[in-house]
């Protein structure tokens, strides 16, 4: 029997007739369905919320920013790690013999890894801090908007 738990947690409103029939037969999926429904209905029954139209642009930024930054960090990390290997292998393999190239590569890797770890940790901390600060700004902005509407 193929379970539909992931589909249930994506959106219970998008279940097909086959999925609904499956729910009748499968206790595991039905349990997850009831739980997901409860969460969805708790959101539907939130006290009155007013989301001003101009907030849309901010929302888009909030949604994209953490992902953009994560991908940016991954790409920079890959570039930082790979580029020196390619560069030094290219240079040393022309000048030195193969065992010397090997020894220098090991040394180079060790030094380079230490530098990367130090910088990587620093950027990771800055990255996390940046997202948190940005989220707080958005919270403040939304609260101000809500207060303006309530006034």
């Amino acid at each position: 029997m193929k379970h539909i738990i992931k589909k249930i947690w994506e959106d219970t409103n998008q279940l097909t007739d086959w999925d609904k029939k499956h729910l009748e037969e499968c206790d595991l999926c039905k349990k997850e369905y009831l739980l997901a429904k409860k969460i969805e209905s708790s959101i539907e029954q939130l006290p009155e919320l007013n989301i001003p139209i101009e907030v849309d642009k901010i929302i888009a930024k909030v949604l994209l920013r953490p992902f953009y930054r994560t991908w940016q960090l991954i790409l920079i990390g890959l570039w930082v790690v790979l580029s020196p290997f390619l560069l030094q292998l290219n240079i040393f393999s022309v000048i030195l013999k193969s065992d010397q190239v090997y020894a220098i590569t090991i040394l180079f890797v060790l030094i380079y890894m230490m530098v990367i770890l130090a910088f990587g940790y620093h950027f990771y901390v800055e990255h996390e801090k940046g997202i948190e600060e940005y989220s707080q700004k958005i919270d403040l902005f939304l609260e101000n908007q809500l207060m303006k509407i309530q006034k």
Partner: protein
């Protein structure tokens, strides 16, 4: 679909308490998870509408909604454990 006490994960928790906890935890979710959930279930926008409005791929939004709900599920499990003592 009717709720069956045997299948209801939170049968022993008061409905109002559960609702309050869920709403509180929703507000504590990071924005990237909270806002798609609100737009989808509170504002009743479809994934397509959200995608057009926010200029974000539907797949990304689905993933955010999925992960947001799983986070809420984990938070609510904690409540159940506390109540069970």
């Amino acid at each position: 679909m009717e709720s069956n006490p045997e299948l209801d994960y939170f049968a022993e928790i008061d409905d109002q308490l559960l609702m309050d906890k869920l709403q509180k935890e929703l507000m504590n979710l990071p924005e990237e998870y909270r806002l798609p959930l609100i737009l989808l279930f509170y504002e009743k926008l479809s994934y397509k509408e959200m995608s057009e409005k926010l200029n974000i791929p539907e797949g990304t939004l689905k993933s955010l909604v999925y992960r947001g709900k799983l986070r809420l599920k984990e938070k609510i499990k904690e409540l159940k454990n506390i109540i069970k003592g």
